[in-house]
Symmetry: C2
Subunit: 328 residues, 2 copies
DNA sequence: CTGAAAGCGCTTACAG
DNA sequence: CTGAAAGCGCTTACAG
């Protein structure tokens, strides 16, 4: 049997009330009693049951974190920071990999609700699911517009898209193609990058061409699209990919077809994760400040939990950085 | 206020007991009553409070997952699969990124204990912390030997080390260096790879040289070691790195110094994550079956939770695969 | 087939 | 400074 507060009380010769008080540092307790209780707790190797405490307090210090998958280095790194920052503040993270499946997301949200999380951080589509159930629940979205009342933390996607495209233009690329995630009304993140790409191309009288990769995390369909790009546009000489993995896949296939990077085709990626920078350091990319995103997100969420925002429309836009490598 | 079982009962015109029974599908309930209750639940958008249920049941369906960091693609992918498999089976994952800090690990373990997790999956050193507190707690270790009584799931590290080193030898490398994580009594995973490397070199009369990279996840100290390797052994012509990130860093620096890969130096990595295979597809590596590791680990843990193993020494060794790329 | 009572492990007014 | 009582939201014997 696990030891409980009564066991400690008995051993220390006090009431459970008193043990609870030393546990919570509440009210006056004589030094002697406090020490006795502490001794008893140590002796019995006692750990309070947070379930019982939370049930009473209506506060779990639990945060739900929903993203497509920790397998993707951008999310892997973001979630690392999110969890780490939460832990520092005494919050615990319930991890949900939804793989962009609406069905899974719904199940996860229900699970989080049942577990009485204090707040949720979402980085997936979430077609209004959360808003509907929103009941004293703090929610912050990362790079997604979930609803009018949910604060959002994102990077300057339009600026990122411009920086990437303008670099290609300035390097004399004539035939610039954009590889994007599947378009989706709920994720203007991608759309803003695309919009910027299109704006820049229009400004220099070029025709934008965008290919969309389904967000299914299936490497096959990704490869297929890349084959198609190179089949249909053998003269492509510039590519702006909306994440570093797409960029890497493109480079791979272009090289296989005998194209030299950057001489024949220049490539810019997006995200600039530590992992991608280590594995493919030569890649030119738009780097997102992952740590800042995490910090800002947790800050917002904790404010939300302590009731500091109330249906205020809020959007935080963090700056991105162009990292020039050797693929441009 | 959140709606609770009493609210549902009132609306459905029954007692809380009855609502609980339809919730748990327990005992006989008339069809009509069941339907009324369901209707009331829907109407009130009711979700049972899992805290209260768990408190009574002494079962949380919570699994603690402790690894160094989701930022590392191997752990990112492993944790993705672990979480996904857990979710399928109705378990929820509490994520802990311990960064190999013993202090953090201890805090996390205590946190998990307080939260009454049903089991823990550990992939970090854990100097006996868990075993000490082991109290009805199922624990499975991934690639770490924690104690005699904790089952372990790992890959055949010795075979991986042999395969990697033998490949280099068969490709006529004369001067083969091994880059390993920091040695540590509790992590024979790394040591087995190293042992295999040393055995193979001894077998062909060569002198093994191993460099250790501190497991601090600090890119600087990693770069430093790699500089040192190339400074101290300018004639190195073969490298076996115990993970793909080390391999990538080495390749980067070797190229910077004008060495051609694989002509001048051949490199074999380790892990073979999807991410590394996408970003650095030309890397020769020893691939670990991440999905199988996750599946086996969860299977073991669930058996442990249902009391199916009792201090039985158990080790599962999964096979690794050599993936020949273009760096050898 | 259904309900009243007791209890899961804790905490907080309320007394003293 | 300390304790007995009630209650957090649920579940399960036990009656009926």
């Amino acid at each position: 049997m696990k030891t409980k507060i009564g066991d400690v009380a008995k051993l220390a010769g006090v009431s459970p009330t008193t043990v609870s008080r030393v546990l919570n540092n509440r009210g006056y307790i004589s030094k002697e009693t406090r020490e006795n209780v502490h001794k008893a707790m140590r002796e019995l190797n006692y750990f309070p049951n947070d379930l019982a405490r939370s049930l009473f307090n209506k506060r779990t210090n639990l945060i739900g974190v929903i993203f497509p998958t920790t397998s993707n280095p951008f999310y892997g790194e973001l979630i690392f920071h999110l969890e780490n920052i939460c832990a520092e503040q005494g919050y615990k993270v319930l991890l949900c990999n939804s793989l962009n499946s609406i069905e899974k997301e719904e199940k996860y949200v229900e699970m989080l609700l049942r577990n009485q999380v204090d707040g949720i951080i979402v980085g997936t589509h979430n077609h209004g699911i959360i808003d509907y159930h929103k009941q004293n629940l703090a929610v912050v979205a990362v790079d997604r517009y979930l609803s009018e009342t949910i604060p959002i933390v994102s990077c300057d996607n339009y600026d990122g898209g411009r920086k990437a495209t303008e670099l290609l233009v300035s390097k004399q690329c004539e035939y610039i193609i954009h590889i994007n995630g599947q378009s989706d009304i709920e994720t203007p993140a991608q759309q803003l990058r695309r919009k910027a790409y299109e704006d820049v191309l229009h400004e220099c009288g070029k025709k934008p061409i965008t290919y969309e990769v389904p967000q299914t995390f299936d490497p096959k369909s990704q490869d297929e699209i890349i084959q198609r790009i190179l089949d249909e546009h053998p003269h492509v000489d510039g590519v702006f990919a909306s994440n570093d993995l797409f960029a890497a896949s493109f480079i791979r296939e272009a090289k296989r077809r005998g194209k030299k990077i950057p001489e024949d085709v220049k490539v810019v990626g997006y995200d600039g994760t530590e992992t991608a920078q280590t594995l493919l350091p030569e890649l030119t990319t738009i780097q997102q400040p992952i740590h800042s995103i995490a910090q800002t997100t947790v800050d917002m969420l904790l404010k939300g939990i302590s009731g500091e925002f109330h249906n205020i429309k809020s959007e935080t836009k963090l700056p991105v950085t162009l990292i020039e490598g050797e693929t441009t």
